[in-house]
Symmetry: D2
Subunit: 415 residues, 4 copies
Amino acid sequence: MPNANAATSAAPLDSLADRYRATRTLTSGLLDQLSEADATLQSMEDASPAKWHLGHTNWFFETFLLRDHKPGYELYDERWPFVFNSYYEAEGVRIARFSRGMLSRPTVEQIGEWREVIDEAMSSMLDDPRFAPLIELGIAHEQQHQELLLTDIKHALFRNPLAPAMYENAPSRVAPPQARDWHQHPGGIALIGHDGANMDGDFAYDNEGPQHQVLLTPFALAPNLVTNAEWQQFVDDGGYANPLLWLSDGWAWVNREKIAAPLYWYEDEQFTHTGWTKRDPNAPVTHISYFEADAFATWAGQRLPTEFEWEAAAQSSDPASGNQLDGAHAPLPLGGSGLFGDCWQFTRSAYGPYPRFSCANGAIGEYNGKFMSGQFVLRGASCATPRGHSRSTYRNFFYPHQRWQFTGLRLAKDI
Amino acid sequence: MPNANAATSAAPLDSLADRYRATRTLTSGLLDQLSEADATLQSMEDASPAKWHLGHTNWFFETFLLRDHKPGYELYDERWPFVFNSYYEAEGVRIARFSRGMLSRPTVEQIGEWREVIDEAMSSMLDDPRFAPLIELGIAHEQQHQELLLTDIKHALFRNPLAPAMYENAPSRVAPPQARDWHQHPGGIALIGHDGANMDGDFAYDNEGPQHQVLLTPFALAPNLVTNAEWQQFVDDGGYANPLLWLSDGWAWVNREKIAAPLYWYEDEQFTHTGWTKRDPNAPVTHISYFEADAFATWAGQRLPTEFEWEAAAQSSDPASGNQLDGAHAPLPLGGSGLFGDCWQFTRSAYGPYPRFSCANGAIGEYNGKFMSGQFVLRGASCATPRGHSRSTYRNFFYPHQRWQFTGLRLAKDI
Amino acid sequence: MPNANAATSAAPLDSLADRYRATRTLTSGLLDQLSEADATLQSMEDASPAKWHLGHTNWFFETFLLRDHKPGYELYDERWPFVFNSYYEAEGVRIARFSRGMLSRPTVEQIGEWREVIDEAMSSMLDDPRFAPLIELGIAHEQQHQELLLTDIKHALFRNPLAPAMYENAPSRVAPPQARDWHQHPGGIALIGHDGANMDGDFAYDNEGPQHQVLLTPFALAPNLVTNAEWQQFVDDGGYANPLLWLSDGWAWVNREKIAAPLYWYEDEQFTHTGWTKRDPNAPVTHISYFEADAFATWAGQRLPTEFEWEAAAQSSDPASGNQLDGAHAPLPLGGSGLFGDCWQFTRSAYGPYPRFSCANGAIGEYNGKFMSGQFVLRGASCATPRGHSRSTYRNFFYPHQRWQFTGLRLAKDI
Amino acid sequence: MPNANAATSAAPLDSLADRYRATRTLTSGLLDQLSEADATLQSMEDASPAKWHLGHTNWFFETFLLRDHKPGYELYDERWPFVFNSYYEAEGVRIARFSRGMLSRPTVEQIGEWREVIDEAMSSMLDDPRFAPLIELGIAHEQQHQELLLTDIKHALFRNPLAPAMYENAPSRVAPPQARDWHQHPGGIALIGHDGANMDGDFAYDNEGPQHQVLLTPFALAPNLVTNAEWQQFVDDGGYANPLLWLSDGWAWVNREKIAAPLYWYEDEQFTHTGWTKRDPNAPVTHISYFEADAFATWAGQRLPTEFEWEAAAQSSDPASGNQLDGAHAPLPLGGSGLFGDCWQFTRSAYGPYPRFSCANGAIGEYNGKFMSGQFVLRGASCATPRGHSRSTYRNFFYPHQRWQFTGLRLAKDI
């Protein structure tokens, strides 16, 4: 979702053009791993076809850069904005009940041709500083969709009983996490959020600001992510059958959906981008919902951190560290030891506006604050997050029942 | 659905082999009109992907001929029966919520290779009279799926706002139907249904028998199908807004689904296998539900025929006449003048068992009578029915709200 | 539902007035067994509050007799037709989502006062032969609602964990059914349906005519209803878990609704109008759906009769015999030996129009044929049917999943 | 919901016994306004019958005081805890699908007798300081249910097209709110939440603590609640049709539920406990959802306050001021000028745990934190809140689509 704003960017312009091209290339590369039919699959409402991600990210540049700012630019195909715009209202009987999963056409190749046309048209704008903020936004937007593409196709392949793989070789096994000290924090006033003007001109979404002070009480953050082995203990201890561990809505969800394990678990295996594989006990648990994360923390006698605690602890970490996405053509590794990478980490903070937050103007700003009800904030970055996309102030958010993303947890406690 | 039995067949054996090959070729030919992604689409629960039809019809021969009767035959792929069998119960978490629309793999080409293996293995059985009844059944089964493939893909392409076409050239326009006399029938005892042993050995499904006597009162059957122009009058007269014309369940359906026209109508156009085209007023109306057919008949001051009346009137007609499917590579024409072809015709007869009907034994027989609740019988044949598949005793059946088949109506009245 | 017409009635007029008064008294008597709150309960969409039945049957006479035919009559309360008419369309926001279960007011006493006013106004019309057909219809309509009142309140009391009783004393136990010969029928042409003019002027609903000939094949009808003990064998034999016994829609229903026994069964008890009681093995099974009845018959190696077979067999039976409703103040007995009484018997006949059937004119006729899709015919009469209401031509009908009526089965077979 | 804990209470013990009796009397008094059938109505899942509230509040004292702490106490009726406990899991077929709306029995009178027994048994405990905290909790719990009883029965009466009234005389009209200055707050560290030990021993729920510091930025709070007249401007300006004003989930809700006005609005009238009345433009708007409150604030160019801002502003106000519930026998007035009374005020704060919050032990504590997902905090008190129940730290909470409570809004802005 492009909950993005046009933050100031002072990154070197040659680097912007380079990053534009690298991002575009990575998206196309992901499609190389998929057949035409794979790229058309939509397995549920929450997910979109890979092909749609390919087109939608292109629509973004065509619309907000070329259509809005390039004199004389004419749309490549006037009908395509309708199918590749993520937000629209029903427009009459003819297209009623359109779902993205029906896009057998245009083909991936046809969308690829469109992308080439856009890249060509964009080339003269990449060096113009007036457009840098919007281009930064377009890059960040496309990176978000790279991650969604990976999690959406994983879910679609999972629902095929033949369990096809996107990649051939499974990642290697992970060593047990080292016993390390918890991250201690003394509490006090912490500076939270992103302030474009004072942070080396890095790009940030509008929901990361304004920067503001938050009063923290002393706390500690676990040094490692919760692992599959630890989660198995929770399962074995009857965690999914004990209502005292669950939020009321979570307990209703567990019973309604007959949830008894993380998504993609089956016996001692796990479905991955390389198909069904034996589960690695030392790897971090992934594909859990907020409800599950909260129940686990309660069972463990701890709690989830707030997003402010997480951010305060992460300010000294390198957000480009850990297992994150480096390319299109290899399996996704797991098993890191830092605050970033592997999986997004649930916080107990509901997703809401920071003090004095206001939406950006115009079409881009339409979507900024509109998701601020009913969702929870996740922090960090996952193995499917393009490296360079995340930062300590980054706020990801999902509904408490959703779990098709690479979601995991890191415990916290009061000290 | 293979609601079929193993009726006796005395057709010449060379013809059986020929018909086997022709049927198999026609199925493959239909796939030639579709891309890999087209063939993977499933637009609703009632429909299946073209690719699935391709595999399922092959599964039928592999299972009931080769597996059951060919010594030493080994399954081509042990996992495929699961995905290409139309009836199965959930088998645990791993394949929970499988839907046929997730079959991006295997590819059409891979299924085609499987079909070649099956054809090769079948070749030695085609001349063996012991297997003729089952092979006849397999051919009939595959023909049914050819029609379903055409109606299913039509629905899927319709739900793409870009409205792709399966065929390039629209059929030519139709002349107005001629004014002709109604088919008069004096009533009395009619012989209804199929008796394999006494009907030249023609194949029939078990639900067409036993042959039995039915007492008819005098009636007349309209000489022509109801046309688009006549249906437009119904629409213009407020037919969809007048509860007095509708069955109670139909009125609930109209309001719940906001139905105001046949499926695929939009303004003065109609969606077809060649895309959106201007509607032909002289062509028969198609893609209506039983509820709509019944409401129209009430509005017209007539009624729908019973299936017995239709059959008695059709006994002297050639079931291979009219607009039916002759090949895979041309658009589907409409606008005939006989009892067969163009579209299936709703009768007011609920689908039930004939006197002394009983199911066939074994796996094939499992499905014979199990659909005998809540559905209505349609008679005739449509432009998508492979020519040679239908006969005067043939009983098609659908739920009263379904309308993605080529369904239309022919009025009847008491005399 | 008042699927009734204005058939000719030549019954003696004094008897008509007597029957009017007796029917009205019985309805009021049923309410005497219920508290104000009991009478307000609506346990599901299919059911209505007892209070509503009380008002609706009164509305019928006020509307179709007094309003339409009594000069100068003014409605008792102009707002009441809206809440006591069974069919209406939504009329704006104010009353959106009205359900009958919200009628805490008017009170039973207030409706009783209305009934007295109607009875007084009706008194001068009861002797006028012009109104006899409509009054007959009103009586039959009220009798239908007496049965519905009893089955609806049974369901509502069942859903209260405290299981309150409507009557105090449970019926006495039943002796095992005697071994008797099946009713044999030689087949041939049978005269089916009701012809008012030639049948001693008895009242009948329009769906029972026109009288017509039907060709039957030889068959036999079981002498006894299926009992609880026999049904227990079906349960013990895994009947509810064997898909081969079930219609396709029935199997889906069993799994979706987790059906494993007749409605109101729990362990070895059964919920009745006198509360939970030990189940009587010799009593006929009741509260089963068509799906269950059909599965049982398949399991037993028999079948359900057609409605024509049942009627042909029942023409020599006294429809006023057997366990039927004789008053408001005693429990409902079970365990008869004739074709009428105890429970309605499912037939395999879908509910449809007889040849040359057409609806009555006017508001009363609006509802005659509108239920002729998706339902099955039941014949006989139940312990909750007011004695005198049923006859051999009577066609009751319900959807195949419904089972809150006193529904049971009698097996049939071909001979 | 009893999201309560056992906070210390040092209130004078005679006052506790008095308050116990006054609370019990008020509950009974509310039932005096309702018929037996009124008291049985349940209009939706969110609501409960008045009779159930009567029993449930009694169950609380029987369970947590008498059963747990009174030696030798025996349950009044062993079956009643099941129906009057608000939380339980399904317990087998017999009571499957129990809904509270089926409780025609026991009667209000029978529950009243139970209450007398409980009051008698409680009398000796009211002066024992060991039980004071639990009794305080029981009183607070019963007061919460008094408010729910009033809003639940309002919804039930609304769904009756005859619109019965609970009270006879409508409240008098309200004068236009005075133009007053906004409440200015300079920001800085505020002390938020309740600390039993240091706050004169007042009772508080556990979710109001621990007391802690929060850093606020300067803000202002509107002096008046938004009125019906102001809301009408929002409606007239197309507020319900403009997606730019709404949260994403809110816009989906508006369209799915066809929302175009506050609950209980119809043309220029409003449904109240005294039936339909002309809407008072000067009265505060009530019965709006969070989605509507947020959209209104956006439309008005302002925002909703956080719960911390509201609390900081309200610390100097008398929580017992304003229009709150003083008795059972009079209509509910509206139109106050302070921070408390009239209606609960939505904040933009999601309902979550305060730092170092932990649940109470035992059965009472089971429910403390389990609602902390997906809901928003409301502050203040409404015309249906028993006077004395609320305080500045009180946290009410509901889902963002719910609006059958007396919910309204007070705008805030940054300064």
